[in-house]
């Protein structure tokens, strides 16, 4: 059964913004989130008081929905502070779609901000440590993703060079994005020459730790046409959770992205071959390989060869993470919302040197926990509805 097809194109993104990506010294997480929110609300041509649906989760503030409502001086009819890790913001889009379509709210704000680089100096995680993992002191999250990578290598012959090519492609895109934190030349050899953190993953196989904030505004399609020159329709949104700690994932080479992707594609009525640009949560290089397989862009086990062929880099057949991703653009702890912002910007044609010409359909994919929570959104221009 295909669920949710009646929701296809009923809602749209009418505002999107980032702020403080890279280093934003002196700002608190809430200040960063609020500034991104201000920019996205202004981008939509709205004022904060019009926001009646509020969606947020921060690693540093478990009740951030209350904090940001107060900070913005708004009284939302719906405050959703749900947390599924870095995928949360794509699940927020899914819930905002439902609430907007049901007529419970008119304008949804999804926002995020963190100062992990200049504030905490390290990745801040909101994960509850497992009593059955903690005694072994795994260097998480990297150890969990490294375990998945080790199994992918074992089953499919995926190589360290192929993993490294994901970081190289991300850097090539970042070099076209003036907002990207990490720029400059990067080769497969350079990646392999960085320190091993958890075999087979090197420092350069891991996402950045930066500051940064992002926000998007959604409304129903009818209102969107009056607000934005180029509203970006939400064609499909689906999420799936199979486990939390990595030892509980049935097959370490397959994530729940297989299920969230399948449902999002069915809802949107499109296929992987129709997608012009993909923005996915590349916390580690193995993520990109696994998610491209799980989402159906290449067969299971062929992701390594696919990424190493140059397919996902500038000039390749499937542009992936055109902002430079969590590996080279920015990664302020939970990156999911940035996949939506970049997808919106690509469809609105705002991406300058990295713009994918004629992009009509984009896929954004978020990951939370240790390959645990997966959420997929498919976005399109009005003509795709």
């Amino acid at each position: 059964m295909i669920r949710g097809t009646h929701l296809r194109g009923k809602t749209a993104f009418v505002g999107a913004a980032t702020f403080g990506c890279g280093e934003a010294p002196g700002f608190t997480a809430i200040e960063l989130a609020a500034e991104a929110a201000r920019l996205a609300i202004a981008d939509a041509g709205l004022t904060p008081a019009q926001i009646d649906g509020l969606f947020i989760c921060l690693p540093s503030d478990f009740l951030s929905g209350l904090t940001i409502a107060e900070y913005l001086g708004i009284r939302p009819a719906m405050t959703n502070n749900s947390r599924t890790g870095g995928s949360a913001f794509l699940t927020h889009a899914e819930w905002a779609m439902l609430a907007l379509d049901a007529g419970l709210i008119d304008y949804a704000l999804i926002c995020y901000g963190a100062n992990q680089r200049t504030g905490a100096g390290k990745l801040v995680s909101a994960q509850m440590p497992s009593p059955f993992e903690t005694p072994y002191r795994p260097n998480n999250p990297v150890a969990s993703y490294a375990l998945a990578a080790s199994r992918h290598m074992y089953e499919y012959g995926t190589t360290s060079e192929q993993l490294a090519s994901v970081a190289v492609a991300a850097r090539q895109w970042a070099n076209l994005n003036p907002e990207a934190f990490r720029q400059g030349p990067l080769t497969v050899e350079d990646v392999l020459a960085t320190r091993l953190v958890a075999d087979p993953l090197h420092v350069a196989d891991c996402c950045l730790v930066t500051d940064g904030a992002a926000a998007v505004v959604m409304t129903r399609a009818d209102r969107a046409r009056d607000l934005a020159e180029t509203p970006v329709a939400l064609l499909g949104a689906a999420s799936a959770t199979w486990h939390h700690e990595i030892a509980q994932l049935a097959d370490l080479t397959v994530s729940a992205a297989e299920e969230s992707g399948k449902r999002a594609f069915a809802q949107a009525g499109v296929r992987p071959a129709d997608i012009d640009v993909v923005n996915l949560y590349d916390a580690f290089t193995i993520n990109t390989i696994m998610f491209l397989e799980d989402l159906g862009f290449c067969p299971k086990g062929e992701g390594g060869a696919y990424v190493a062929s140059g397919a996902i880099a500038p000039g390749g057949s499937l542009p992936v993470n055109t902002n430079g991703g969590g590996l080279s653009f920015c990664h302020p702890g939970m990156y999911g919302l940035f996949t939506l912002v970049e997808s919106i910007r690509q469809l609105r044609g705002e991406c300058g040197e990295r713009q994918i010409k004629g992009a009509k359909l984009a896929l954004a994919h978020g990951n939370g926990g240790t390959l645990s929570s997966q959420a997929t959104c498919i976005l399109g221009l009005s003509e795709t509805i």
């Binding site: 497992s130 795994p138 375990l147 998945a148 990578a149 320190r195 958890a198 075999d199 700690e245 370490l252």
Partner: protein, 124 residues
């Protein structure tokens, strides 16, 4: 059977020198980590049983440490009974652990009490 405090019971067994996991007496399914109900079926008849202690390395990484600290093996072992758990492989260097390696459980000192670790199974 009602299982009182599955998490603390598991570690209590380890501190007594026993590696015990749960099995549903109705379905025969082995369960790890310890729970108040069996996953999926919801069966509440979980009983503590000693597994064979033999298993296979399913996934393996090396936690790289700053010298002079030694690198640490972090693995997922699949017990012959089916369940998987995160653990260490000991008695050999972390870099020599490989997927498919047959291993046997032993109880060792962890940071906060006894833990189950594995070493290469000399019987195979």
């Amino acid at each position: 059977m009602t299982i009182a405090h599955p998490t603390s019971t598991y570690f209590q067994h380890l501190n007594e020198g026993k590696f015990m996991i749960q099995r549903s007496s109705s379905t025969g399914e082995w369960v790890f980590y310890p729970r108040v109900i069996a996953p999926r079926t919801g069966a509440t008849d979980l009983e503590w049983v000693e597994p064979s202690g033999v298993g296979t390395v399913y996934a393996a990484t090396v936690k790289r440490m700053k010298p002079p600290a030694e690198n640490v093996s972090i693995v997922i072992v699949e017990l012959d009974e089916g369940p998987r758990l995160m653990t260490h492989i000991v008695s050999i260097s972390a870099e020599d652990v490989f997927i498919g390696m047959r291993v046997r459980a032993k109880i060792a000192d962890g940071p906060d009490g006894k833990i189950v670790v594995f070493e290469p199974d000399s019987a195979e």
